[in-house]
Symmetry: C2
């Protein structure tokens, strides 16, 4: 699987196919809100399974009922297809 850094045009196109993800400092980020901490944690555990399957791991910030996921490909020094594939799986 390719892990080449995407161009700005490719990033913009890929972002358009997602909902709620924002480009910020070369990473993509999405905030999810849940009823409470318990539901937020269930979501994090589902994300964790997908991350392990993909061998690609978002940064995960949990603040009570809010979860922020941040994706980039450190080894490529930017965003790659792996980030958008995982984002799509998480929201799928």
């Amino acid at each position: 699987m390719s892990a080449e850094k995407l161009s700005d045009t490719e990033i913009r196109k890929a972002l358009n196919s997602l909902q709620g993800w924002e480009l910020q400092e070369g990473e993509i980020r999405k905030l999810y809100k849940f009823k409470d901490f318990k539901e937020a944690l269930s979501f994090v555990n589902r994300v964790a399974e997908l991350a392990e399957e993909a061998d690609h791991h978002p940064d995960i910030l949990i603040r009570y009922n809010k979860v922020t996921l941040t994706l980039s490909t450190h080894s490529a020094g930017g965003l790659t297809v792996k980030d958008f594939q995982l984002a799509q799986k998480i929201d799928g």
Copy 2:
């Protein structure tokens, strides 16, 4: 259970009884390192159980094998005994 804001002296004393926790911008914070993402996530799930028991929830940041916990009592506008009690339970 009291949720009164602690004084600077009380905070300093309480911090001394903990290991690895740092005071930063009116919150206490600790970074934990694990073998991999899976172990980091197991830790987060244990912390989550303690947080639910205490009805007090740290901010939790997971970056692959690193977990940062941040504690403060929003309702009190600072640090309270609840923060130090939970920190102690997490490390206990």
